[in-house]
């Protein structure tokens, strides 16, 4: 089956207009629920950018989205709609946590890379299943990856509950023991949750850039994603490309899970991810699946999340408001015909022309 997802370039103006639509619709929802949108948005903005702690919080929520965003973008680039990032992340987090708990006596410089390696392999293994089903049996990866998300969450719960449960926890909360000190990410700003995982996340965005722009595989990924028939004609094995993008995508997602464990939770916790996978997909789609786009998309989604948490703390508006706004934005990003009705560049041209005329009309 040829999955009809072809990545399409997204212009900056589309993203901006979609964000405006998202904010307006979010505002309407607040009005309907009898809140002052301006007040709530002010709280949200303050919670995302207001002070040092707000900024740290925004960046903290950006970190996992860098990984899930890059993971999604690589798969989308290669024409695979991998919505199983969430599940791959769970497997990576568990593998990372176990490596962090049971390997002892190492320095951080050895321990953390080992954890990253283990989590990448686990994520990769989980992504291998839908990839194989796709290239071998033509099974739609949209359905299989999504189903495997549920399976991943139950499977990690099961493994932890029956084999790796924390001492003193009798199945009430499904958590593992804490990871070793050497496996923990150093904090970047004291007394905040911002940790060095940010640097790893940015490194992955840079690697994504080099992969897609500078390597042969990247070129093959791009043309297979845009036009698989053409790619085949040019001698590219599209199935190999699809397998590769899924494996890379799963590996990156897995590392994202482990980084969350190393930086924030210090243990594997059941349901640790508040939908990082889907948020990453949205970040990637908002950013047009380009490296810089993913970076900006993750920053935007992360700030929105941080702001929404502050909103939830100080008002009775649920944090899910942010989720709704994110979803609305992606709907509008995708709405090509609607966006064609906003010829922004033409307006800008007209604006420039008017300015020029006004300038030349001025008396000398």
């Amino acid at each position: 089956m040829n999955f009809d997802f072809r990545q399409k370039p997204i212009e900056l103006k589309t993203a901006v207009i979609a964000v405006i639509f998202g904010i307006v619709i979010g505002g309407i929802l607040m009005l309907v629920s009898k809140h002052d949108p301006f007040k709530i948005y002010a709280v949200l903005f303050n919670g995302a950018f207001g002070d040092k702690f707000a900024l740290a919080s925004s960046l903290r929520w950006t970190i996992p989205l860098l990984f899930t965003g890059v993971a999604s973008a690589i798969a989308f680039r290669g024409g695979m709609f991998n919505i199983g990032v969430e599940g791959q992340m769970y497997l990576g987090a568990l593998a990372g946590a176990l490596t962090g708990i049971y390997l002892t006596g190492l320095s951080s410089w050895v321990h953390i890379p080992l954890i990253i390696l283990a989590s990448a392999l686990a994520g990769m293994a989980w992504a291998f299943v839908p990839a194989l089903l796709k290239v071998r049996y033509n099974a739609s990866e949209v359905v299989t990856t999504l189903m495997l998300n549920y399976v991943a969450i139950y499977l990690t719960d099961y493994l932890v509950k029956y084999y790796f449960i924390a001492k003193g926890s009798y199945g009430q909360t499904i958590i593992t023991d804490q990871i070793q000190k050497s496996a923990r990410m150093p904090s970047l700003i004291h007394a905040t949750q911002l940790h060095a995982g940010l640097l790893i996340g940015i490194l992955f965005v840079v690697l994504f850039y080099f992969l897609i722009k500078k390597s042969k595989l990247g070129y093959e990924i791009s043309i297979s994603g845009i036009n698989p028939e053409f790619a085949r004609y040019g001698g590219v094995s599209v199935n190999r490309v699809r397998m590769s993008v899924m494996l890379i995508s799963g590996a990156v997602a897995g590392v994202g899970g482990a980084v969350e464990v190393m930086g924030i939770t210090w243990r594997f916790m059941s349901h640790f991810s508040p939908n990082f996978g889907f948020d990453g997909i949205l970040a990637s789609l908002l950013g047009g699946n380009t490296p810089i786009g993913v970076l900006l998309g993750a920053l935007f989604m992360g700030s929105l999340k941080a702001g929404a948490l502050t909103v939830e703390r100080s008002t009775d508006v649920s944090r899910s408001l942010a989720t709704i706004i994110q979803g609305v934005i992606i709907c509008f990003v995708s709405a090509r015909y609607l966006m064609a009705r906003f010829p922004v560049s033409k307006w800008l041209d007209g604006f420039k022309r008017n300015n020029r005329r006004r300038n030349s009309d001025e008396p000398h």
């Binding site: 929802l29 089903l133 495997l148 399976v151 139950y154 085949r232 599209v238 709907c331 995708s334």
Partner: protein, 309 residues
């Protein structure tokens, strides 16, 4: 407690009903050639508004009506963004999944001032109907006695869908739009309108399915309570190659898996493993009949790509 007794038969039928309704809904989208993954959010919003309508009106029928309306709303939004504004069906579908997941949590908080789940004696569930003479029929009495009217309607909908799709001009138009939209347009079928109607049927049925989940047994709403059944329906309809009667049997199979996992949890069996069952079943289905997993729309493209491989 034994694994299989007569009561599990009734459970199977009860839990099959929402999956069956959603799968029949998916059938219409599939036949019309629209890759629609907004069944899950339509069910979820339907489940919420079923509770909402029932709580505020005191009538389970009005609960079902508002659930159907919610399903239609989801379908309308999906149609607006994809059919009218040219959005990618999968991208918009994923986005609508995200939106409705958030919206139900948002509404739970502002309407019922709670989070997680909402339960109240004032939510009127669907009444259990006792059909006269049914308790005299040997097997059927275990299956169908004391079910809600939505359950009866779900099983009836298989027949309705069959008649509607294969015996009416409207059904023929739907099938034409899926098989060959260009040819359908050439002979004067308004493809967009037919697809809109098909999506609305899908949305309405999924809304009703949602209300059976929230009002059919426990009369409560909880976050994400549809738990992927909308996606199971998508997989089921592909597996059944979009034939109504096969849809019935596939749905029953998923109902069986769900009922078994409910039952096994009561025994000392790791519930996590059991809860995976329906999802693994979907994946398994995708593997054992690869050729049948083609959404109509991609049939031609797939054939081309394979010959080129």
């Amino acid at each position: 407690m034994s694994l299989i007794d007569a009561s599990i038969l009734a459970v199977i039928i009860r839990v099959t009903a929402p999956i069956l309704l959603a799968t029949i809904g998916a059938l219409f989208s599939e036949k019309a050639g629209v890759p629609n993954i907004t069944l899950e959010p339509a069910m979820l919003l339907g489940a919420f508004f079923g509770v909402f309508g029932s709580y505020y009106t005191g009538s389970s029928v009005l609960g079902a009506v508002s659930a159907v309306a919610a399903g239609l709303l989801v379908a309308l939004i999906f149609a607006l963004f994809t059919l009218k504004w040219g959005g990618d069906e999968i991208v918009v579908g994923v986005a609508i999944n995200v939106i409705m997941g958030g919206l139900t949590i948002f509404l739970l908080k502002i309407i019922f001032h709670t989070s997680g789940s909402f339960m109240s004696p004032e939510i009127i569930g669907f009444p259990q109907l006792d059909i006269p003479l049914l308790d005299r029929i040997p097997v059927l009495k275990y299956l169908f006695a004391g079910q809600t009217w939505v359950v009866y309607f779900a099983f009836l909908s298989v027949w309705i869908a069959h008649v509607l799709l294969y015996k009416t001009p409207f059904g023929m138009k739907i099938i034409a739009c899926g098989e060959n939209p260009l040819a359908a347009a050439t002979v004067g079928v308004n493809v967009y309108r037919i697809r809109l109607y098909a999506l609305l049927i899908t949305g309405g049925l999924c809304g009703l399915a949602g209300s059976q989940i929230s009002l059919g047994f426990l009369s409560m709403f909880s976050e994400n309570m549809t738990a992927g059944r909308g996606f199971i329906a998508v997989a089921a309809v592909i597996f059944a190659r979009a034939v109504p009667v096969r849809v019935l049997f596939i749905s029953l199979l998923f109902g069986l898996a769900e009922a078994l996992s409910n039952q096994l949890q009561l025994l000392k069996f790791p519930s996590e493993l059991v809860l995976m069952l329906p999802y693994l079943l979907v994946v398994l289905f995708l593997v054992i009949q690869p050729d049948r997993f083609r959404w109509k729309k991609w049939k031609s493209a797939g054939a081309v790509s394979e010959s080129g491989a």
